[in-house]
């Protein structure tokens, strides 16, 4: 398939960049309206262009590409700024621009009163730029630009309220952990350069597909795959690099919605899907991906149960949902993964925005134990969030149901273990989501009012929510609008996958990537089985809902008792299995102490400098000794001369005799 030129592509990333630049340079003095206008216009324009392209997209002429400029060249190896659009990137494009645009709108309301409003908006635009570059890249290096760029954006946005140490630390943590992932990514790139002498997708993939599949052996492709997975794990918060995502909740909620739910964190999934060809030729890598995904899904979900911070719950649920997606990719169901990615973008974005609206409503409080009964105060938020919860819990016919079901079905095709853990995860998910709903909106009394006074409004940095004391309140329409739209999408979004339309649409991208389960229409042969499994998963979700209802609405005192019962285990879960502490003890501390004591004070000052100074002192000391040759006594001098003369004579006599 020869790519066809598409002159519009370059505009999509560049527009937000322009917005970012304008706001960044001139926003400081500009009025809030102007800032919002710029941000929205440029982001919206990008969305519009994306839509335009989508409308005129024809699978026949795809993929499209657009060479923007040469970038770097050394010897025979060269990389250019080139954009590339096929079905996969189209999906991503729409998700990113669409959800992104909505969240921009939402942010106008949410951040309006913040001092750094212009900063925030320009950061958001900047993020859009990098994310779109990532999505539209035609080669791995340009993708890497976006890859690192979104990292930067998230660093800036997480640390947006930089006066808060925790926020600053979280930002740094995110960046560094991402860097660890990028390290793997880089090595993968070097391997590609070494073996394919190019980083261009088409060039690489054509070469790869010529290579034999490394079923038994572990070869270059496996290595590349694994390394790419390291990168993906970093970006998409998979085990063992997921630790940054929960902390990232320090950022403003729209950020959490946009970056840490809808778009950026899914970059890893996108990248794996993009590299499907490579993975297809490296089954071992695939398996690893699947396992990591499964484990993460389960693991994160369990942590989610015990969290009380509304955003933390959502964060862990994000991690676990991402696990789902990787499971999908791991079992070869790339399109299913992408499908879930899309739906997840809808409902998880919605969840976060709604949570944001809640937090906004109660004046910056995030602890669910201080909420409750909010459905009376903010019905819209309640309704939309409810929809989202149904969606994520996988209750048909909401979007989540379709994608999750697809994944589970495929996972079962790969191995029942995946499927089982997937189902368990689904159960836990629906449990903690409904738990969240009940704790936040359920009950009849609002528990926050008392705490309000003592608590101020949370050290949340944006103290400018002047209102919102005492009475919780519904958010303005500029915020509710996006909620509604997303809710709509969460309802209907799933139907695009009906009858595998979505899968067929993406098929050209993953052709050659014939999953472990055959691509043949599933309703034919294993239809009964599929319906059976479907039933199981749905019922499990229902079970979770019921349990939550039981514990957090019927007998509220029960959870405490259970927690007490579980004791250590419960504490472990509350404290996220002490993973952060573990890392601190294992890596951070040794590094710091080692560098300080051994390297700096030890080697640098203790050995090298000491050696230098000592030799200097030695010279000085020797000099001081030798000085005493100059005793000042004439006869001694004569002695030296005489002795020297004797030696000279002796030598010369010997010479003469010889």
């Amino acid at each position: 398939m020869t790519p066809t030129l598409n002159p519009l592509l370059w505009m999509i990333p560049i527009l937000p960049l322009a917005g970012a630049a304008i706001n960044g340079f001139f926003g400081r003095k500009a009025s809030r309206n102007a800032i919002s206008a710029v941000a929205l216009v440029f982001c919206g324009a990008a969305f519009a262009v994306a839509l335009w392209i989508a409308v005129h997209f024809s699978s026949a002429s795809s993929p499209y590409y657009f060479p923007l400029a040469h970038w770097l060249r050394s010897g025979t190896f060269s990389v250019d700024f080139e954009f590339y659009l096929d079905q996969l990137s189209l999906v991503m494009l729409l998700v990113v621009t669409g959800v992104g645009f909505l969240i921009h709108i939402y942010s106008v309301g949410y951040m309006w009163d913040d001092d750094g409003y212009y900063r925030f908006m320009s950061y958001l635009n900047l993020f859009m730029f990098f994310m779109l570059t990532l999505v539209l890249a035609k080669n791995y290096l340009v993708m890497f630009i976006g890859w690192e760029g979104v990292g930067l954006a998230s660093y800036l946005l997480i640390g947006f309220w930089f006066t808060k140490d925790s926020a600053a630390a979280a930002g740094k943590k995110a960046f560094i952990v991402n860097r660890i992932g990028d390290f793997g990514f880089l090595i993968a790139l070097f391997l590609m350069i070494k073996h394919f002498h190019s980083l261009d997708f088409t060039a690489v993939f054509t070469q790869v597909s010529a290579w034999p599949t490394e079923t038994a052996s572990v070869g270059i492709l496996t290595a590349i795959g694994l390394l790419l997975m390291v990168g993906a794990a970093g970006k998409s918060a998979q085990i063992p690099l997921y630790v940054w995502l929960p902390d990232a909740m320090e950022g403003p909620t729209p950020v959490s919605a946009l970056i840490h739910a809808a778009t950026m964190v899914t970059a890893g999934v996108y990248m794996v899907a993009r590299s499907s060809v490579i993975f297809e030729h490296a089954p071992t890598a695939m398996t690893v991906v699947a396992i990591i995904g499964t484990l993460t899904a389960l693991f994160a979900a369990t942590i989610g149960i015990a969290q009380t911070d509304i955003k933390k719950v959502l964060a862990y649920s994000t991690v676990s949902q991402l696990g789902y997606m990787f499971m999908a990719c791991g079992v070869g169901a790339f399109s299913a993964g992408i499908f879930h990615l899309m739906t997840h973008a809808f409902f998880k974005g919605l969840l976060f925005l709604a949570a944001g609206s809640v937090i906004h409503g109660v004046g910056g409080e995030q602890d669910m134990r201080k909420m409750g009964g909010l459905r009376l105060y903010m019905p819209w938020t309640f309704a939309t969030m409810g929809i989202a919860t149904l969606a994520i819990a996988g209750i048909p016919p909401f979007a989540g149901f379709w994608s999750k079901d697809e994944i589970l079905w495929r996972a079962f095709g790969a191995s029942w273990v995946y499927w089982l853990s997937g189902v368990i995860t689904a159960f836990i998910t629906s449990f903690y989501m409904f738990r969240l709903m009940y704790m936040t909106f359920g009950g009849d009394d609002y528990r926050g009012a008392a705490a309000q006074e003592a608590h101020g409004h949370g050290g949340h940095g944006h103290d400018d929510h002047g209102h919102g004391h005492g009475e919780p309140h519904e958010s303005p329409w500029v915020m509710l609008g996006p909620l509604v739209i997303l809710a709509l999408l969460s309802v209907i979004g799933g139907f695009v996958g009906y009858g595998n339309r979505f899968e067929h649409f993406l098929a050209p991208v993953f052709q050659g990537a014939t999953g472990i389960a055959p691509e043949t229409a599933p309703e034919s042969a294993g239809s009964t089985l599929e319906y059976l499994l479907m039933g199981v998963s749905v019922s499990v979700a229902g079970l979770g809902w019921f349990l939550a209802y039981l514990l957090y609405s019927r007998v509220p005192q029960l959870p405490a008792r259970i927690a007490a019962g579980l004791g250590g285990l419960y504490r472990a879960v509350v404290n996220k299995y002490y993973i952060d502490e573990l890392y601190a003890v294992l890596f951070v501390k040794p590094l710091i102490d080692g560098s300080t004591t051994i390297l700096w004070h030890g080697v640098d000052q203790g050995v090298i400098d000491a050696a230098v100074n000592d030799s200097a002192d030695a010279a000085r000391h020797m000099s001081d000794e030798l000085r005493h040759m100059q005793s000042g006594n004439l006869r001694s001098y004569a002695g030296w001369v005489a002795a020297g003369g004797a030696v000279v004579i002796a030598y010369m006599v010997w010479m003469g005799v010889r």
């Binding site: 000099s623 001369v641 020297g644 003369g645 030598y651 010479m655 003469g656």
Partner: protein
């Protein structure tokens, strides 16, 4: 040549004598041309002695100094005159050739600069100018003769002239015990060493039956007869004597004390002039007379001098003393050249003496100006903040120190460079390495002075007297020469290598070409 020596040897048998009685005529006029600079210098010296009593003590300095200066300049001019009459004179006593002309110019120039830098000093120190300048001039006569004499006895006498005048000069700060002590040490050890030298000459005479350089080299290497052991011993003793004069280890012990005690300008003079002359003699004896088996002597002595000099200098706090040690180190560098192939080595050594003279004289000129009355301010601490108090002086001093370190576009660099390349060309890698390491070490103590001048706050009490014209001129000359040797070393080196070739290949009279070069010089 060969014929000549035999004739020389025989001329003392009785019939020879009788023959000469008939043919004995006064030396031809050209011979006088060949010692013209010496004549001029001695004439001016006497002139000074005559004029001195006529002037009163207070303002005699200026006029006498001027006379002395004119004398040196005249001598310089007459050197170029002399250069037109290459060849031997006074029955093989002296030979005018590129080599001797080179050292004549060098030594006389040194004397001139020394005189210039003494002007102010004498006034401040209340030193009797008449004897001072007279001694300098007569001493210069001795040095000149050392460079041109090809007869050991004449060399010995010339050596004594230069030495004795320096002994006395060293004692000129009469009120200071240190000065007279340095004079005494210099004198006693000096004559001690001279005795060794003389014994060496005697044995050399015994070994070869002659004291004429050419005759000796001929006698030592004529036919296939092995060189007698006596000659070896003789060389050893001569080396002891001259090694002392050039202050090379282990015969260097006198230098620091003497330099510290002696008047600064005199130190400037005696660390360059007599040293250069002594090196010239050493070259004649070792290279031209082709003395046997001295290689390892030089090697070890060079290594020792470099190392001892540099290491000892590290902790010195008296600038004069520090420079004394540095001069020992530089003697070591110079000796490296002696160890190299004769021709390369000689030219390198000649260049080095010139460069070293320029920079060291300059350094001492600065020191002697800065030392002030009674040489109170000669410790390192006194130099603190000099860069702020008198920038120009500090800058020039820095320049000289840079040259001593061996930074490019200073004479010091090329001097070191030629020695190094001579050593490497003759595959003396070991020695070259020692040299390199030493000059790295050496950088440190020169740097200490610079650091003092620029990076330390000045101490109040040290006065800064304005730089008088004469001293300024002296310093300027040194700067220019050092710079010249650093930027355009070509001519000097060409000349040096040419005369070195003559010296080594030992063709009696120099060719016309070298003479023309000499004139250009």
């Amino acid at each position: 040549m060969m014929m000549m020596t035999t004739a020389f040897a025989h001329s003392f048998s009785l019939p020879g004598l009788l023959a000469q009685m008939q043919t004995s005529m006064p030396p031809p006029g050209a011979d006088y041309m060949r010692i013209l600079p010496e004549l001029v210098l001695s004439l001016f010296g006497m002139l000074i002695m005559i004029v001195d009593p006529l002037l009163d003590e207070e303002n005699s300095h200026q006029s006498l100094g001027t006379i002395a200066l004119i004398g040196t300049l005249a001598a310089l001019a007459s050197t170029f005159w002399m250069a037109r009459y290459p060849g031997t004179a006074f029955w093989n006593m002296v030979r005018v050739e590129g080599f001797s002309v080179f050292f004549h110019v060098l030594v006389i120039a040194i004397a001139a600069v020394a005189i210039l830098s003494s002007f102010e000093y004498l006034k401040v120190q209340r030193i009797r100018a008449g004897e001072y300048y007279g001694l300098i001039l007569f001493g210069t006569v001795g040095m000149c003769l050392m460079s041109s004499a090809i007869e050991l006895v004449l060399i010995f006498i010339a050596l004594e002239i230069s030495s004795i005048s320096t002994y006395v000069l060293a004692g000129f700060r009469r009120r200071e015990a240190s000065s007279s002590e340095s004079s005494l040490k210099y004198f006693l050890l000096g004559s001690f060493a001279t005795a060794f030298f003389l014994y060496g000459v005697a044995l050399m005479f015994g070994a070869t039956g002659s004291t004429n350089i050419d005759a000796i080299s001929h006698a030592l290497h004529s036919g296939n007869a092995p060189v007698p052991v006596l000659a070896y011993v003789a060389t050893a003793l001569i080396f002891v004597g001259l090694g002392f004069k050039v202050s090379s280890a282990p015969f260097h012990v006198w230098a620091p004390d003497v330099y510290e005690g002696a008047p600064a300008p005199v130190v400037g003079l005696m660390s360059t002039g007599p040293k250069a002359a002594a090196f010239a003699v050493l070259l004649r004896v070792l290279i031209e007379a082709r003395a046997p088996g001295y290689f390892w002597l030089i090697w070890v002595s060079a290594a020792l001098s470099m190392t001892l000099g540099n290491v000892c200098a590290l902790v010195q706090n008296n600038v004069k003393r520090l420079l004394a040690y540095s001069s020992i180190a530089h003697a070591g560098y110079l000796l490296v050249a002696f160890a190299a192939q004769p021709e390369l080595g000689t030219s390198a050594a000649m260049f080095y003496t010139a460069a070293y003279a320029a920079m060291n004289l300059g350094a001492f000129a600065v020191v002697s100006h800065f030392a002030n009355a009674g040489e109170k301010y000669v410790t390192l601490e006194d130099y603190a903040g000099l860069g702020r108090r008198s920038p120009v002086l500090a800058a020039t001093f820095t320049f000289f120190l840079m040259s001593l370190i061996g930074i490019p576009i200073t004479g010091g660099f090329f001097a070191k460079f030629y020695v190094l390349s001579a050593a490497l060309k003759s595959n003396l890698v070991g020695l070259a390495l020692i040299l390199v390491l030493n000059s790295a070490v050496g950088a440190y103590y020169y740097l200490r002075i610079i650091v003092m001048m620029y990076m330390r706050e000045p101490r109040g009490e040290v006065p800064v007297t304005p730089l008088p014209a004469a001293a300024g001129l002296a310093i300027a000359v040194c700067v220019l020469l050092t710079l010249y040797l650093g930027v355009l070393p070509g001519p000097v080196l060409d000349y040096a290598s040419l005369s070195a070739r003559q010296l080594v290949n030992d063709t009696g009279a120099p060719t016309a070409s070298s003479v023309s070069l000499a004139v250009e010089q």
